[in-house]
Symmetry: C2
């Protein structure tokens, strides 16, 4: 069940709105070893001082309500005020969420939601199934990849955004979703009645590569991730795994306790996993109670590896002798906690409450962690799509032409340049591509050619042979297996 998340660039819009880059702390932050808690640096800015500020905000609210030319929605003004207050902190990781976003955030942290369990994307204005989630009601009912969903309970998806459609498909556990859909090969529309249920989001994908190299991709650190990871790791070890690659590319983070739990399996007893510093500058260390692993481990990171991913990478690099392969990480060195009971209306305040440091005490915020072996992906992995409403030809220039040139180069044609100027060489490369695709060899970049280019490129990106970072990580582990310079 290997799912290559890095290839989805042009094709899949995720079903979940990702509340990117969080490192959630569930419960209280406390350091048993640092003496009794002091009253804190805010003892002098208590309720009384707040009153003046609150009075000013109230005055503004009253002035707007009494004088603004249009009707005002107080809820919107209040949400705007709290949003503005959080923005004023200048910390992108402290934020306010209204009930709907808060719900999605909690589902992401929990690693589950209630619905039918189909990953969908928007393609040419249609809601299309990417894949039903394994074991979900959608899969059991017989929903297939590429099914085009038309309506739920009589409500058409026409003209809706993907998020609007998804929110209609979702619903409480036990409720029914009557889905109408179109399937390639069927003349009529089909209808399925599906009972919504808890859907566990998969965050761990494992496989065994040749030579006993295990690979585990972790897409997020949700509440259920540690357990899933432990299970997959045991499974690989039972198969006689001789070395492990952990892939946390584009993993935005998750729950602090979960990543500590996972790192503990690799960090030998007594060695530090992570340090946390609270607002009073008190530091606490979390040391491992585990026993470490005898086999070599590598971690693949990129600039989308943030927060909990960086804790894992830092812990394994500094305290477990693991090699980091790929690119420098994102650089998010803070811990957030969520407040929602305080509001009582489903909204939520995420506040940065601490910094975390690597085992050696380095704060990697805005710096990231450098890999031991720097490996980039081919440039065409991150190319932007081509605007298909325009046609481009010789002697024109622009960003779309630049994209097409990057794609041509990635596909082995020779566009001559990749700066966005449509040269003769680019024209010739395009003609060759069109011939290979059995399109008319016009040398003109029209919508059809652009689509063919993108499709060919997606195939290229999906091809494991082009995943430089993964291939290098596997090669490094193989090398260590073959010449076992014991690292412990």
């Amino acid at each position: 069940m290997y799912k290559k998340r890095t290839v989805v660039f042009l094709i899949v819009a995720s079903m979940l709105i990702s509340c990117l880059f969080t490192l959630s702390l569930t419960g209280q932050l406390s350091f048993a070893d640092t003496g009794p808690a002091r009253s804190g640096i805010f003892a002098d800015t208590g309720k009384t001082a707040s009153k003046d500020g609150i009075k000013k905000i109230e005055t503004a609210l009253e002035l707007v309500k009494a004088n603004y030319v249009e009707g005002v929605d107080q809820q919107k003004l209040v949400d705007g005020a709290i949003d503005g207050m959080m923005n004023a902190l200048g910390d992108p990781f402290s934020s306010y969420m209204g009930p709907e976003t808060a719900q999605q955030f909690s589902e992401q942290i929990e690693g589950s939601f209630t619905g039918i369990g189909a990953e969908v994307s928007m393609e040419n204005g249609n809601v299309v199934v990417v894949s039903p989630i394994k074991g979900s009601p959608a899969e059991k009912a017989g929903i297939k990849p590429k099914d085009i969903l038309l309506s739920v309970n009589g409500e058409s998806f026409e003209g809706l955004s993907l998020n609007e459609a998804v929110s209609k498909i979702r619903g409480p556990k036990g409720s029914e979703a009557k889905i109408k859909l179109k399937r390639a090969g069927s003349a009529n529309t089909l209808e399925y009645t599906i009972v919504r249920d808890d859907i566990a989001l998969e965050t761990v994908y494992a496989r065994m590569e040749k030579g006993g190299v295990g690979v585990i991709e972790v897409t997020e650190f949700s509440m259920n991730t540690a357990e899933r990871f432990r299970k997959e790791l045991e499974n690989l070890e039972k198969q006689g795994m001789k070395g492990l690659v952990i892939d946390v590319r584009n993993n935005p983070g998750g729950v602090l306790d979960i990543v500590i739990d996972m790192a503990e399996q690799f960090v030998p007893k007594g060695k530090t996993i992570v340090q946390v510093e609270d607002k009073n500058k008190r530091r606490g260390k979390t040391d491992s109670g585990g026993s470490g692993k005898a086999y070599p481990v590598a971690v693949i990171t990129n600039k989308g590896s943030a927060s909990a991913s960086e804790i894992l990478a830092g812990a394994l690099q500094e305290s477990a002798g693991a090699k980091l392969i790929g690119e420098a990480t994102y650089g998010k060195g803070t811990v957030q906690t969520s407040f929602n009971k305080e509001f009582g209306d489903g909204s939520l305040l995420k506040v940065t409450i601490a910094k975390w440091l690597t085992p050696k005490g380095e704060w990697i915020h805005k710096k990231g962690i450098q890999p031991d072996v720097a490996v980039s992906q081919p440039g065409y992995f991150s190319v932007a799509p081509i605007n298909k409403e325009k046609t481009f030809k010789y002697d024109m220039l622009g960003e779309d032409i630049k994209s097409a040139q990057t794609m041509l180069e990635g596909l082995g044609y020779e566009p001559g340049r990749t700066d966005g100027y449509f040269s003769k060489a680019t024209e010739n490369a395009l003609k060759k591509f069109q011939e290979a695709q059995k399109l008319e060899a016009t040398g003109v970049l029209d919508a059809k050619t652009a689509e063919a280019l993108e499709a060919a490129l997606v195939k290229e990106i999906r091809d494991p042979k082009n995943d430089n970072q993964m291939n290098r990580a596997i090669a490094e582990i193989r090398k260590e297996i073959e010449s076992p310079v014991s690292k412990k």
Copy 2:
């Protein structure tokens, strides 16, 4: 005293931060002719309903203060909250200003401030005098254009932004500013002691063109603008003016009463100047008590003519038979009022309280007013400056090359294309330009050539013969003077 504001694109950063696009109402909005005021549509959203919202904001503030990892500045959070609340209205003309911005806004509305009275700009990191304002302490003391200001009262301007330097030069009436400066031709630095005073901002510039065509440029509708306008108009009339061009290009607006006062001089008695609709949808008309003018009038507008400028254009077009020349206006059809006493700390809330409509009842918001005679400026009037840290040559492409091509074309050289691709034709045009400027004819766009291009272009833009809109307006008025088809 003609000041061509449209030419300042690359050279002058204004001394004042312009709080663009306001239409201020001073005092209460009231319509004597529409019966007693009703309680309004907000009678049901009084103080009680506000309390829940305020409580929620207070909860968020307390949570942040108690938990955020860094020290928090409550003032910043409160300002952020009010900012966020105003943003939530979705009306760019309703906004909150802290004490400093509020002060600048009030000065702009008043049309005066206290300081030394020198317009300055930032050039190569130096604070350079553009011109001392007529009759100001700076002029009386002997400050000259191009003087480089070094320090005030011992505080150096080195490394400061223009606004930071300006705020140091300003100060209360009667206080002293000891200015150190460098002047071309003087070996030593010079020192002046200048006593700060009230400086009236000039918003009206008048001149007489050949054939008895008067031209009045109005840069803003400040409190003193109507009086200045009346004086300049009388002056022109005394000189035997036969027709008038009013230029409100890039005029962001100002005070409602002021523009009504000015329009009244042209709109015949009993005809409508403007209509205003309050939030209860009650409309009030303001009719003219003036007598109109016997001579033809034209108004020049562009997309920077907003608010009060549009009221003037609409009133003169619909009720005084004036011709509008130029481009469609900005399209701001709302009236704001300012609240500051309510806060008591110098901050200010600008709130949209009404819509205004043209005499015929049209709401031009987001549409603008179309000119009777559409005339554009040459494309090179709005070209972006060239990045002088890079060098560009044949076969390269980019925005800077596009700018250079537009400049070359504007200067009469033939770059072949203006899309940003550095062609052979562009290279040849550049060589010719370099020869004409006595630069080495390399055909390479380096910093020196870029500076020469920009300097030549500024000269071209400053040349009155290239102001298509002004020239057309004057021509239209001349035509009307010569063949007096009486319009009244």
